[in-house]
Amino acid sequence: MTPAEAVFQLLIGLSFGLLLFLLASGFTLTFGLARFVNLAHGAVFLVAAYVATSVGGPGWRFVLGVGAAAATGLVLSVVVYALAASRWRVIGERTLVQVLLTFGALLVLADYARSHWDGLPRSLVAPSALDGSWAFAGSAFPVYRLFMMGAALVVAALLWWLQERTSFGALVRAGVDDREMLAALGVSTRRLFAAVFALSGVLAGLAAGLGAPVLGAAMGQEFDILVLALVIVVLGGPGSLAGAFAASLAVGVADAYGKAFLPSFAEFTMMGLVIVVLAWRPAGLFGTAET
């Protein structure tokens, strides 16, 4: 690999990593705040991606597609929370029941997508203004990937502002640290959880919509995407947005280098990353020791 190729793959990896951050940030918030494992997150992404390819179209209708994907994510994520909240006293405390519930929801959503869109892969064309590519290091770097990076960075900045500069963010941070204390102070944790699930759905939907011109929508994504989100959450430390950000970029770059230079064994780069980081810090990069 020449240095130019390395830089090229680095950019590909960073753009994918930023997209992954949108996906994983919602997962890490629900995981860190509500101690809830939402395995349905991957299927929410899948359905949102299919919605984006169906509603979206050329030109300005691309925005419509992304918006529809975000709305789909919001609705589905809130439905998953509503199911769990109907028996929160049991489900909120038992990880295994959460796994059962959300894995079941994942299967139902994936089965719906399979039957509604015939199980065929679909994609969304990027708006013509973003459809070109730049010659770079002997390859063509798609302009859309740059746009995707920019858009994801804007959303990430908004999320940072929400988390660090608003009272909502203060509640979330307090809840991640000690939700019993937060509840004792008179905060309705149920409402807070609902809001965070809605936010996580919107973020997954945005990732699906913005990613549609690159990743498209295809069956199997519900697991592929889920695993990337899991790896990021575990690497970054549950509940930590900064950790999720760092881990997303690392995972995106590891994925790009793996696919480019070791096509058959791309997963080894990811496995290697997980092993090295967790051997070094079992609680994740930005994680605190498990209580």
Partner: protein, 347 residues
């Protein structure tokens, strides 16, 4: 009354186990070829579920990644006859056990340091990476998997495994050997340390045991039993493919264990019954995955009601039995000492 109960319950359980075994032995004599094959499938699931049961109930480690070890066993069994010219089922089984043990070790070392949700997430992530490796690695046949697998010979026994009835008994033997191994381990001093770590890691560590070493050993043992299930699975189907490593496999195994309760007989029974129910379901609708998902959701939502231990306590209360009143009243999981006692009784 409580004294009489204490004597009758284990006897009822022993009778149930004997009846279950008799039923399993009798299957090839009462069912047709299709039904026998279906129950073999159930036996494979039961073996896999037993391995997951061991990790969850004895070590409190919920694995959502046992498909990886099941798949490693399945692919090793396939490679043994298609590439490595191994023509002995016991040699293939031994080979699969060694390969599974070696490959599960690094995962065990990483996952053994994690608990609860992080353990679930990491095991699932490793299993998914294994699956993706299986689909991409040309040597393993890609998405087609390994085809043209034949059932090997069974030297030194003069058995013909291509016969459905003989294969049924082979699968049953693997299940019983796996269950026996796990039960012996649970009752051994090693198992006592494992249960001690589950109930109070700090105290056991203070006694000078290294919890990580014990957890890693338990993880590898569990992986090996899962790998053996994979071997039986491959020779049953005469192929191994990436769906054997799918997250659906891990999730189903965990679901079976959650449904099955504390004793090892639970998951074994549930595995066989669920396989039969699923077969009936899939012959009626091609959207059975969605139906299965809905079933998982319903079971999860009904979980407050699905609590055999609470029923038993309620039953004892109604009969005026001597249950410690302090713990009988609430639905909270029993304290460690009681959990260990429950397990002792049930295994």
């Amino acid at each position: 009354m409580s004294v009489r109960r204490a004597m009758t319950v284990p006897r009822v359980r022993r009778v149930a186990v004997v009846l279950g075994l008799v039923a399993l032995v009798a299957v090839p004599h009462v069912g047709d070829a299709f039904q026998v094959t279906l129950v073999v499938r159930g036996l494979v699931w039961a073996t896999l579920a037993a391995s997951v049961w061991f990790l969850l109930r004895i070590c409190d480690l919920p694995s959502l990644g046992h498909a990886a070890f099941f798949g490693i066993g399945a692919y090793t069994a396939g490679l043994a006859v298609t590439r490595w010219q191994v023509d002995n089922v016991f040699a293939a089984l031994g080979l699969a056990i060694v390969v599974t043990a070696v490959l599960s070790l690094p995962i065990a070392v990483i996952a053994g340091r994690l608990r609860n949700m992080q353990f679930i997430l990491v095991t699932l992530a490793f299993a998914e990476m294994t699956r993706s490796l299986a689909t991409r690695w040309a040597e393993l046949g890609g998405t087609d998997g390994l085809v043209g697998v034949i059932r090997p010979g069974a030297w030194p026994f003069g058995l013909d495994l291509s016969d459905a009835t003989t294969y049924y008994y082979f699968a049953l033997a693997v299940l019983l050997a796996g269950v026996a191994l796990l039960v012996v381990v649970v009752r051994s001093p090693f198992g006592a340390v494992l249960r001690g770590i589950r109930d109070s890691e700090q105290r056991v560590a203070a006694l000078g045991y290294n919890p990580l070493v014990y957890r890693v050993a338990a993880f590898v043992l569990s992986a090996v039993v899962a790998g053996s299930a994979g071997v039986v699975h491959t020779y049953l189907n005469r192929f191994a493919n990436p769906t054997d490593v799918a997250p659906l496999v891990s999730a189903r195994a965990l679901l079976i264990v959650v449904l099955g309760g504390a004793a090892i007989a639970g998951p074994v029974t549930v595995a066989i019954l669920l396989t039969i129910i699923e077969d009936a379901l899939s012959s009626h609708t091609d959207r059975w995955l969605g139906v299965l998902g809905a079933l998982y959701v319903v079971v999860a939502l009904a979980n407050g009601a699905w609590n055999p231990a609470a029923w038993r306590r309620a039953l004892v209360r109604r009969r005026g039995g001597a249950t410690p009143a302090t713990h009988a009243a609430d639905d909270a999981p029993p304290p460690p000492a009681r959990r260990a006692a429950t397990l002792e009784r049930t295994t």
